[in-house]
Each structure stands twice: as structure tokens, then as C-alpha cells.
Amino acid sequence: MATRPKILIIDDEAVVADSCSEILGDGNHEVAAASDGAQGLRMAQDFHPDLVFVDLKMPGMSGFAVLEKLREIDPTIVAIVITGFATVNSAVDSMKQGAFDFLPKPFTPDELRLITRRGLEKRSLVLETMALRREKETLREHFAAIVSHELKSPLNAVQQNLFALGAELAGRLTDDQRSRLERCSARVNDLMKLIHTWLRVMSTDLDKVRENFVPTAVSTWIAKAVEVVQPEATRKEVDIHTDLQTPLARIQGDEGTLVEALVNILGNAVKYSRVGKAVLVCARQEGDQIVVSVADKGVGIAKEDLPRIFEDFYRGKSGEAPQPGSGLGLAITRRIVEVHDGSISAESELGQGSTFVIRLPALSQAQAETDPLSLPQMGGMR
């Protein structure tokens, strides 16, 4: 409300409309008046009022109907009901229709000024909240772009020059000097990867993932995740065994993020496994839940760390050798599982290994069949 706040009065009694205009038309407000609901609504569209007074009892369109239409025109408009029959019921009803407050007739000029001030304060708050919410959304959406430029540009420049120096000085550096240059380069690279992971967490609106939910086969999900982790497992001579109950109900979900979640768990299982040990992935149905567990015989997690491992940036302190990581993998995983209306938990014994369990709601046969997305004639892309 950078300009004078605009107030619209919708009342069939000319006396009320006139006196309101006079009381509020003191130079601080811009006031307009309409003598019935239909005219009032037309004016609301052009006048863009901040605050609207609506008489409940008018010939033609009722005050209640006007309130409802006003909300359709602009839900941020603050409406105050003027009522000659100030019963509790009509006040409650109008509040239910979204009115901010009500003013019983007859009222004094001071009463009108007071309620106007409160109504306009409410309007400021509503607008401010909306602006903040919009700003927050924009910030989040642009965060990835801004940060990648502001944070990555200097790193790109550093890395590019390390590359160039490495090439220019090839043959002139001692082994030790070359190795230090390479380590500089590796550290910059790690930092860039870390920034990327953080961005992934902060700029992704996981709720939007719900829009992509389709009935998803548990076996495909698990197979894809295992495939991603397999090369690292092979390097460490860790066998990944899968044990899937058949048949398994499908789940409602987004395969991409589900795979990401399971890859995080499996990746950890492999990372913390001892060379030559196995990782076991099980999937079974328990009632209306699909339960997927990943068990390793690795270094395990200390009891005091267990409750916090799904928190952002938390990294266990008590494991054997510290492993590189962002401290975000499990936090992302938990969020992905929760967006799928599931839960994740962990059990562990230090030195013996850990078991992570993901529980997701199973699609019943009927749900899978009635879901429009699962019908071939509707789906198109399956």
C-alpha cells in the first residue's frame, strides 16, 4: 500500500454509505461506495480496494454472496461486514465466509475509524506475508543459479589456472611439486562437488516430486539402485545380495528420487563395509507396507550417533576411519522417503554392521488398477 489505502463501501442505505465516506474521506484514504452487491463487485475489480465494508442485508445479492465473490476476485482483500441484525449467528456466518470482522449498526465514527485501522493493518500483514512467501520461493528457485555462479566462478578460475600451470610447468616440476599441484586441483574439485550437493538439498522442492508419482515396481527400483553402486562394490570386493519376496505390490512414487534415496543407503553400506563382506538387500510385504532393508557387516554406528544420523550435516564421530562425505546423504534420503509417505530407521551395533529399513505404503491391487495413471489407454507413456 504505497499509495493511500482504498476502501470500498457496499451498502444500500445511502445514509450509511455517505457517512462512512465522510468519516473516512479525511485525505488519508481513497473511498468509493456502491449501493448494491453487483455494482460493488464490478467496482472491486477496477478499484482494487484494500478494505471492503459489506452490508449483510441488501436487496438483490446478499452480503454473504458478495463476500464469496470478493474472495474469488482477490482473496487478499480484507472484508468487514456491516450488520443491522448483529446476532452472533450472522457474525459467525460472515466470518466463515472469510470476513475479517463485523461492525454492528448503529456505530460511532470512532468505532468505524478503529475497525478501519485494524482492517488495514490486517491488509498490510496479508500483503507482506504474500510478498515474503513469493520472495522465499523466488530465492529458492534462483538459489541454484545464483550460487553456482557466485560460488563456482572463482573456483572455476582457480581450477582452470591450476590446469594451465600443470600443463605449462610439465617437465619442470619435481615429483613433489607436481603432486602438490595435483592435490590442490583435487581439493578444489571436492569443494565443487560439495557445493553441488548442498545446492541439491537447498534448491530442490521435494514436494514437487509428488506430481510425478506413478505406480512403481519395487524390483525395478532396487535393481536400478544396485546397478549404480555396483562398480564401487566390485572395487571393494563387496557382494550385494538381493532377496525379494515375490510377488510384491507396487508402490506409489517417483522412481528417480527413490533410486537416489536407496543409492545413498547402499553407497554407505558399501563404503563402510569391510573388504570382502556382503551387503544384503531384502524386500518384503508386511500388511499394507513394503519394507526394504539394507544390511551391511561394516564398522557400524555408535549408539549415541544413531538418533542423529538423518539430520542435515550430521556426521558420525565414532566410526573407525572417517570417510569423505557431505553429511547430507541420509538427510536427503529421509526427505525423499517422507515425501513418499514412508519412514526410514536404522539399527546398528558398533563393529558389527548396520541395517537401514525403509517402509513405504504398498499399493493395493485395487488402487493400482483404478489409478488412472496405471491404465494404458490413459497413460500413453508407460
Partner: protein, 140 residues
């Protein structure tokens, strides 16, 4: 054929430019630099270059894209090979949601990510120069 190739870099980060310029110069390319899109486009119009190395995220946003669009409208510059050097692929995806990662701004272009390893940079530059030459030799 063996004459020294003349390249132009348009990128607003002088430190980054130093890191690719030295690689290109040590491979015997002649390198000019413009540190903003405006100077860059003027340089393109003032002299015949064999190739442009173009940054995308400059100034207030994707100003590099504007340079490419102006080039496409210019009959002389349309044929010039362009190597797009940009921060991350996601930025391209962000600018052209749903579009291919490789934008195809002009007839001959290619995309590499920052930072770029010397070997890869030189390979891409020489491959682009060759394909531009091949195109010129046998107009479709």
C-alpha cells in the same frame, strides 16, 4: 593452411580467461579477449576470427546467449564456429528447460564445462576448426 588461427574469447572473468588463454597460446593460437558481450560483439564485427570461445553466464544473466543470437542473425558471423564454455550443464538446462543440453546456437558449436582440462580444450578447439573448414570446403 598452416597460418596461425585467430581466436576470440568473450568471458567476463579475467582470471578464468588467463587460465584458458595460456593453454591456447602455448598451442600456438593467436588469442584476443573481450571481457563483456558488447566489446566482444564489436570485436567480432571488426576482424575475421577463426573461432569464438563464448561464456554464457555473464553480467546480469545469460548475456552470452544474446551474443550467440546476434551472431545467428548476421550472415557473416553465422558460419563462425563457437565453443561455448559454461559453468555447469544445469545452467543450460535452467535457461532452456526441457531443451537439449547442447543448444545449437549457430551452425558449428560445441559445449564444454568449466573448468576444462587442457587436453580436452585443445581437442575441442581443433575439432571445431576442422569441421568449420570442412563445411566451408563442401557447402551443402
Amino acid at each position: 593452411m598452416n597460418s596461425q588461427k585467430h581466436l576470440l574469447i568473450i568471458d567476463d572473468d579475467p582470471d578464468f580467461v588467463a587460465g584458458i588463454r595460456s593453454i591456447l597460446e602455448s598451442a600456438n593460437y593467436l588469442v584476443d579477449v573481450a571481457y563483456n558481450p558488447k566489446d566482444g560483439f564489436e570485436a567480432l564485427q571488426s576482424k575475421p576470427y577463426d573461432m569464438l570461445l563464448l561464456d554464457i553466464m555473464m553480467g546480469r544473466g545469460a548475456e552470452g546467449v544474446m551474443v550467440a543470437r546476434k551472431m545467428r542473425k548476421d550472415p557473416k558471423l553465422r558460419e563462425l564456429p563457437v565453443l561455448i564454455i559454461t559453468g555447469i550443464r544445469e545452467q543450460i538446462a535452467f535457461l532452456f528447460p526441457g531443451g537439449p543440453v547442447h543448444p545449437r546456437f549457430v551452425e558449428v558449436d560445441e559445449l564444454v564445462e568449466k573448468p576444462v582440462e587442457p587436453k580436452l580444450l585443445l581437442e575441442r578447439v581443433s575439432a571445431l576448426l576442422q569441421s568449420a573448414q570442412a563445411k566451408k570446403a563442401s557447402p551443402a
